[in-house]
Symmetry: C3
Subunit: 343 residues, 3 copies
């Protein structure tokens, strides 16, 4: 048993430590097809090589969230195997599209540590970077998790809480080289609504829903090589339920948001996110969005839109938290991201 | 909510109108693998690049029905989102094989309109064409659906019922350029039975069966980017059941028909089809065929065979309709198609 | 019905007969992605083209077990459609990596026959070889099955029981050309344990578990074009259960063994294997291994390790058989194989 990975505990992390995650992964046409099979993904830029080429890219990239999941999945054995809770995300930036044939690996730096007052757990902040086979960064984000201590007598580290941006500014967003929406074909993309048609504060009910199956979330989560037992092993939790990987809900909600946001093509920034309530098989995921902000970009025909994407299990729209400030029980996900749209 | 697609209603269609469907889709090796994972597909021409090359093709094409599903899926948001019933198919012709790397899009022309006497619904006929990235047609078919009116006061259009062929003639079939079965390897293909061995009227019980799972039909239906809520959202129908996309049953039955029709390699014509009864998860799909017609073709070693393919949920063979002329309850699908076989 | 494959019965096999199996299959990136989606596979050599290239291969091969399943699947219609039991494997050798784009076919030679004393069944031994599009052998193994007689009056053949090695020697193993682990990156591979760190007799509990779903094992089994009714048709067995293809359990257990054996990269030999108890959906598969032997190899930095891999449905570790010599009820699989590791 000494050879299996017990995961890291809170006292195992050192500020400034850099963790190289296993195992690198080549993503290709198979991953692209599976993404479309697992989620109702229809954004044209990720569906058609021709549409992507007409938008100035070299071809249709792997979905931005698929790239995120692959990078995230690699971090699980080192970061969250003994996590009690996934507390938050910040400063997520997509830096370069991932194309079929690219090989991704992930590296994390410990940027914050804070032992909890109970002495049994602590919070670890890491900045994770996904790199391709050219060692070019494709993605970077900060995540913090609450991790158990194994040795309760281990001394508490100095508390360092990183100073994180609550929201990325438009200037922080990386626009893929060559991206050009000036010849954008709205008919082929599926909706006529351009960046200029959206108003800050506007709420969009995405209408469609998907009832979640065990086989599907496990197929997805394995595809990202995420190894957390709680997603796969029905004997792991006392209630016999498999907790669904939060990223599965993110991708499902984002794909559902096509209906009303078909032109919010590329995700380029993640300001924050909360898995508000656990998701289990049998629930029906629906989604709504609200426009939080808009910004111009230097790329031709390209605007940036900041969106709150909310996934629900009860079909509610526009309601997020109760009077007590807590998420309502029907809210699964609250995600704050920047996307690029044709102006 | 104004930004989501409400779908079109009967009064929204105009005779002669051409609808360009979103979103184009690049199909590749991933879609090919998924087709083999979702259906027990074994036809050698679609399984082996080598076998396909020996048959005069440039490689193994994407399954003919996968091409159909991709094209069909694109039409759903514009044609059948508010459909009450999928009434029929006619004049389906596969015009060119689809290869990995091809990008498909779909265009439909409204060729018929007829308001029903109840004033609440109408029938819309469309001729849909699938095109590849060279703008070459790969597939064409007529489909008619019953669609609800939203504005019951909208005037009824002039009734135009298109004149459709009840059956394609052998001359109507497009034989892929270069197709040559004169060196066909029956051992590798899996069965010794050639075109000459089949007699009109012969019934073939395909013996094998597959019990349908929710995860599988949803994975398949999403892969074709078909967005009809009824397939995915268990809260949509009052009975809590997800109706299975009719095309899933078509592909399942066709794949099962390998056992007895392993050499009916390519589907080139669709004369008609009826989804006789709804299909739900838990049913076990089996299939039988009857030979309806045979014809020679100009391609070397290639014959055409017209088949009725029947999918059942009760394992019955050879029985289609009751004394009342209605489909028996155990019949799921009644499909009339032309395939190409080695003579 | 005369045209469907009834399968072969015991009296249909002749000693020395060579059976060419249908249908050839091109495997590609799609199959690679699906393998990672269906099993928690993380071995770096099969995950990353870059890691594989750094190990001297031309790219990341299709998983060794995926190659096995494709070859095995082709034999089912000819060998085991009427099998009562899958009795054993021996002398399995992986001879050459399978790369995306390769087309595999399978050929079997009947090397042994023995009618059982009840006169109703017999044992058939076949040596199956998988070949690529260059007609190069990629895989070879012996399998024996108990098959029913259809004609009980058919005379018994002369009994010939092949002389099989109980264990392959290290010299019997084919090391892929160019394989070189001298620059092996243990951090990227996921574990620090090298060949030298394992001791004969050492038991490794792989800790992780996966609860099996019907959709997943059917998707996997279809992907290998395995057509045995018992895996797909819930009406086939009197108890309404679908028996899970034994190879699904093999792949699941092997993938789970990453945790503790992440560096046992390539499977090159199969000494034997038993599907100890049937597996059904709903069971949670876990795995443990014991080191049976170790050997040096001529390839730079490459050692061979012989492992017993045991899959269980009850999470037990280290226990295989009861006092009566029979497998314990919680044991699903007992597999004896050789793998290659960095020394």
């Amino acid at each position: 048993m000494a050879k299996t990975n017990p995961g890291r505990f809170f006292e195992d992390y050192r500020l400034g430590e850099v963790i190289e995650h296993a195992a690198p992964r080549t993503v290709g046409e198979g991953e692209r097809a599976l993404y479309h099979a697992l989620y109702p993904a229809r954004h044209a830029l990720y569906s058609s090589d021709v549409f992507a080429a007409q938008s100035g890219l070299e071809g249709s990239p792997i979905d931005d969230l698929a790239a995120f999941h692959v990078v995230f999945g690699k971090t699980v054995p080192d970061i969250s195997l003994n996590a009690v809770a996934n507390l938050g995300y910040a400063e997520g930036r997509w830096l370069r599209p991932v194309y079929p044939g690219d090989t991704l690996r992930a590296v994390s730096e410990v940027i914050g540590l804070k032992q909890n007052s109970n002495g049994k757990t602590g919070v670890v902040w890491v900045r994770t970077t996904g790199l391709n086979q050219m060692d070019e960064p494709v993605l970077s984000y900060v995540r913090w998790v609450m991790v158990r201590k194994s040795d309760l007598d281990a001394p508490a580290p100095d508390t360092v809480v990183p100073d994180l941006k609550s929201t990325l500014a438009a200037d922080d967003l990386a626009i893929p080289e060559g991206l050009d929406f000036s010849g954008y074909d709205f008919a082929l993309a599926g909706e006529p609504h351009r960046w200029g048609d959206y108003e800050v504060g506007e709420v969009i009910d995405h209408v469609d829903g998907v009832t979640i199956e065990e086989a599907e979330h496990m197929i997805a989560t394995r595809l990202w090589q995420n190894t957390a037992k709680v997603h796969f092993d029905a004997t792991f939790r006392p209630d016999g339920q498999r907790l669904i990987y939060g990223g599965h809900v993110i991708s499902m909600a984002r794909a559902l948001s096509f209906n009303g946001l078909a032109n919010a093509q590329m995700i380029v920034g993640l300001n924050g996110g909360a898995h508000a309530n656990p998701c289990f098989a049998g629930l029906t995921v629906k989604a709504w969005s609200v426009v939080l902000d808009k910004a111009e970009t230097p790329a031709p025909g390209v605007g940036a839109i900041r969106l709150r994407l909310v996934a629900t299990s009860d079909g509610s729209v526009g309601k997020l938290k109760g009077a007590d400030g807590k998420y309502l029980p029907g809210v699964l996900l609250d995600l704050d991201y920047w996307a690029l749209m044709p102006v």
